[in-house]
């Protein structure tokens, strides 16, 4: 084990990623975050195996604390945080709230039919001074789990424990 992977393992353990494996039994879950990562091990610091988007359905094989081992429709396997998925198969539009008429009953049941792109468009039209192009760019920025693991290892974060 290299020094880097050792510290990553130490932090993963400190974060509580290790735990008792419990069978989940072939369940389907749905990604609810705009983008999500299927990671190599059950840790936010693990490298990304596959990227998924809101509405993608994944088959879940087992659970380890707050992580699910899943397989994507392309057959790639890895771990995803339970907080990133809805615990069943539901139809979700790629953008929360969908477009006009683009919301499924599942989505209404899950999230209500509250704010949506068209409501935001109305807010923007009444505040022409606000420039949403900045937040559009910012929300697409992404830090890979592998980069975080390297950052943790390089900085010896948790190394004092």
């Amino acid at each position: 084990m290299t020094r880097r992977t050792m510290w990553a393992a130490v932090l993963a353990a400190a974060l509580g990623a290790s735990g008792v494996v419990a069978a989940q039994g072939g369940k389907t879950v749905t990604v609810q975050t705009l983008t999500g990562k299927v990671q190599k091990t059950p840790s936010f610091l693990a490298p990304t195996v596959a990227k998924v988007v809101r509405g993608d359905q994944l088959s879940s094989l087992e659970q380890q604390k707050d992580w699910l081992r899943v397989t994507t429709k392309d057959g790639q396997s890895g771990w995803i945080s339970k907080a990133s998925v809805v615990d069943k198969a539901v139809a979700l539009s790629t953008k929360p709230g969908g477009g006009a008429g683009g919301v499924s009953e599942d989505e209404v049941a899950l999230a209500g039919r509250g704010f949506s792109p068209e409501v935001e468009a109305k807010y923007r039209s009444t505040h022409p001074d606000l420039d949403f192009s900045h937040i559009d760019k910012i929300e697409k920025l992404d830090v890979d789990g592998g980069e975080l693991a390297k950052f943790v290892a390089d900085g010896k974060i948790g190394g004092g424990k």
Binding site: R54, G97, G114, K137, G159
Partner: protein, 308 residues
């Protein structure tokens, strides 16, 4: 109670549907529509879902950027879709503490922000940091410069992450806003598209929620108990991530010294640093001392040396 529920439900359905219900000639479509509306009532009354929080967060974040004249660091890289410079460093630190926060779910914690965690360094001489709902976190250049180590920066960011995880910003929304609009929202629940009037009503709700949140962030501040909880949980998160929890104390000690300089945006909306230190003093004995390695000290200096 049943009758009250029926009246509330009827108010959200079309006149034709209600007429059919009254006459007893209910169609399958009516039942389907009513089912959707009931489900909508349940979900909206239970909580503000991450999907709702996302839109509130985007608008609050844009207002925060506007208040800083859209001046933030590494803007050119962000426009290209890249993280670089100080912003990359702050996002690395922020995402490490956010990961630690998300690894354990406490009762009452918000679900994961659906757009992930994002950290932006805004240009300002006021020492401050802001957490918009939905995981959009802002720290001023003055606050970055006030932090004397990566561990202090991590503690400041962990305090803001704690605000998001505990849904503190949403707690500032006047309850009457939600109570007053539920039926309006629900009128749209079973339909194919929102009418202009429904969009207007929802926009009114969005306006109100954004105003309540901005008032809390810039004028009134959160309650003292909320700030103390963010300090306590921030220390816990930083420690779990592997940072030195005592760094929160050191940052607050610096803040206390800055209190009289007028540079502290924190001071207008947060309890006095000395009060926060006194509260934290009860928490700190349970954390072991952490020796900060030199490599972390040097990379912090390198990362922030360009911050003016």
């Amino acid at each position: 109670m049943r009758r009250l529920a029926f009246v509330a439900l009827a108010a959200t359905l079309s006149c034709a549907t209600v007429d059919r219900i009254r006459s007893g000639n209910i169609t399958a479509s009516d039942i389907q529509t009513a089912t959707k509306v009931v489900k909508g009532i349940q979900s909206l009354n239970e909580e503000i879902r991450p999907e709702q929080e996302y839109y509130v967060g985007r608008s609050v974040a844009t207002n925060i950027l506007a208040k800083h004249d859209y001046k933030y660091l590494d803007k050119a890289a962000i426009e290209r879709g890249d993280l670089s410079g100080v912003t990359r460093y702050v996002n690395d630190v922020g995402n490490v503490v956010a990961a630690a926060a998300m690894e354990t779910h406490r009762d009452g914690d918000r679900p994961a922000p659906i757009a992930g965690w994002h950290f932006v360094v805004v240009e300002s001489d006021l020492i401050n940091a802001f957490a918009a709902p939905g995981g959009f976190i802002f720290i001023t250049t003055a606050a970055v410069k006030t932090a004397r180590s990566e561990d202090e920066l991590a503690c400041v960011l962990a305090h803001e992450v704690a605000h998001v995880v505990r849904g503190h910003a949403l707690g500032n929304i006047q309850k009457s806003r939600l109570a007053g609009v539920s039926s309006d929202v629900l009128q749209a629940a079973g339909r194919e598209a929102l009418s202009p009037e429904q969009v207007n009503q929802l926009n009114g709700l969005l306006e109100g929620i954004i105003q309540d949140t901005l008032d809390a962030l810039f004028v009134k501040g959160y309650s003292r108990d909320t700030e103390f909880e963010a300090d306590r949980l921030g220390v816990e998160i930083a420690a779990r991530a592997g940072y030195d929890p005592q760094a929160m104390t050191r940052f607050l000690q610096t803040l206390a010294k800055e209190q009289d300089t007028g540079k502290g945006g924190f001071f207008a909306t947060h309890p006095a640093a000395t009060d926060r230190l006194a509260k934290l003093a009860n928490e700190m004995p349970k954390y072991a001392a952490v020796t900060v390695p030199k490599v972390r000290v040097s990379r912090f200096k390198t990362a922030i040396e360009t911050v003016r």
